[in-house]
Amino acid sequence: MLAYTIRRILLMVPTLLGVAILVFLMLRLMPGDIVETMLREGGGNVPAHVIEQERVRLGLDKPIHIQFISWFGGILQGDFGASMWTGKPVLHEIGSRLELSLQIALMATFLAVLIALPLGTLAAIFKNTIVDHVIRVISIAGLAIPSFWLGMVIILLLLTFYGWIPPLTFTSFFEDPWRNLSQLIWPAMAVGYRYSAVATRMARSSILEVMQEDYIRTARAKGVYERLVVARHGMRNALLPVITVIGLEFAFLIGGLVVTEQVFNLNGIGRLFVQATTRGDYTMIQGLVLLVAVTFIMVNFLIDMLYAALDPRIRYK
């Protein structure tokens, strides 16, 4: 296990480095000069020597590899630079919004697993019957309906039937759990539907594949109840790919949140990203993109570790 872990960590290094280089190059490849864009934000003419001074101050006059090393060194020490819009450190801005987005992501994951496992199993057991077809339509619809639109429809339904809309200001779960949940359950549902659809499809195909294995036939042949065959022999072995999908989708949830937070007027990571994009806050975009990519790589790593822990065959490959 240790050897596998080390090998897996070493494999991660080039990807992380590649991500860092790409994110670094993002600003350098941008048409126009970043310093001019920053200084001309307020409008008016900026004298050439001021621009030159700022360039020297930011170290932009140095060769590009030196720039990269100093930038990367800063990142490693947790210095992502300051937001070009608010002037506060990027990490601080992200940190203050993380709780909200993370909570929605966790709730959506919980909902998705709760829906996907039973539906996927049912679809697999009743393959090619009406049950399977209905579940298939439900899950393909989940892939098709945009989460932001679903969010709007949820608000509309709440308004029509209960004359109530979710509170607009965020309350931490630890302050007032009821108020917090009554606000965040709706965006979690809007995002979670798509998520559960992906997981349902994976669960179905994975169980179907496992049910063709020899040991399933053996279990049936020795007279195990069909229910137990599915639950003990089938589900257990079919779970790995489902865990992968759930993990990967979790890392991708930020994508769903970018638009959904906009609908529910929530001030989370997604919203921050959209604001940074419209305002041209490049250091913020850089920080967010880097953070999301690193999260994704880490989740991937954890999934691989989990795989290896659950299935010893993988370690020895």
Partner: protein, 301 residues
């Protein structure tokens, strides 16, 4: 000797089934996929002949008919400028399908070429390309698209925003490259590739003439599937105000701005464009799924 055997063989006549028309075969085997195809064709016709199909000019502002509920005059109601929503939805099909097809075609083509080159040359070329694709895959689609939009800005050529196409098409490349690479790897080992090499054909010719035709099935499957993703992504970006801009009718755009402001009083403003997006993506997903089952059940997306 041979004569006698042929004589003794009983004269069994096999009823040779007439080869079905391929399209008819698809419809019979994949009814759900055929339904998806039907929706796609209807949407394409709407997009192509929007001028004929739409009852009103989608840009026509009518202050006498602001925020009207669906009626005989305006089947889907009007928005806050008095513009006919049905006409805007119909013209929106043009935007969605154009952006969806172009972005998907561009992304899939580049991805396919990268995948084939990667598989064909192998070795360090393969390693470098795969690492690069891994890096691209570590960004969520919308994050990558937003970053590209933020950095490149807008660049409208002939009514289509090239940078938007890049933003939507780029995330497709690594995924397609990966699938095509694995298909091409198997083909590379086949004897006719060796034969082509022995015959002294150029690398370009071998890739384009001997490998490409054999990866058509996964290519077509992914092309359809990623049109769906591209439509959804375009709608999301437009919804955020970072994709297609006013006054061009686009479904995602119809859900943002004033629609987000008024939809609690005028729900028809968001109901119909949302259904249009969902239906389009739904149709492409159904068709893509069916196409995969029909062409090549082994391909995993």
């Amino acid at each position: 000797m041979t004569d006698t055997t042929t004589d003794t063989v009983p004269a069994v006549t096999y009823k040779v089934r007439k080869a079905r028309h391929p399209i008819l075969g698809f419809v019979l085997q994949q009814p759900l996929g055929a339904m998806g195809l039907l929706v796609i064709i209807i949407m394409m016709l709407c997009g192509l002949f929007a001028e004929v199909v739409a009852p009103y000019d989608p840009l026509q502002i009518d202050y006498m008919a602001i925020l009207q509920a669906p009626s005989a005059d305006h089947w889907m109601g009007t928005d806050d400028f008095g513009r006919d929503i049905l006409s805007r939805v119909i013209y929106g099909a043009r935007t969605a399908l154009a952006v969806g097809f172009i972005a998907s075609l561009a992304g899939c083509s580049i991805g396919a070429i990268i995948g084939m080159v990667s598989a064909y040359f192998g070795g360090w070329v393969d390693t470098i390309i795969q690492r690069l694709m891994d890096v691209l895959l570590s960004f969520p689609i919308i994050v990558l698209a937003l970053a590209i939009v933020a950095i490149l800005g807008k660049n409208v050529v002939g009514g289509i925003d090239i940078n938007l196409i890049i933003a939507i098409g780029l995330p497709i490349i690594p995924k397609v490259a990966r699938v095509i690479r694995s298909s091409a790897l198997a083909i590379r080992e086949l004897p006719y590739i060796d034969a082509a090499r022995a015959a002294g054909f150029s690398h370009k010719r071998i890739v384009m003439r001997h490998i490409l035709p054999n990866v058509t099935a996964p290519f077509l499957i992914m092309l359809t599937a990623y049109v769906a993703q591209a439509i959804l992504l375009e709608a999301s970006l437009s919804f955020l105000g970072l994709g297609v801009t006013e006054p061009t009718p686009a479904w995602g755009l119809m859900l943002s701005g004033s629609a987000a402001q008024y939809y609690q009083e005028a729900p028809w403003m968001i109901i119909f464009p949302g259904i249009a997006i969902s239906l389009a993506v739904f149709a492409f997903n159904l068709f893509g799924d069916a196409l995969r089952d029909w062409l090549d059940p082994k391909v995993r997306m």
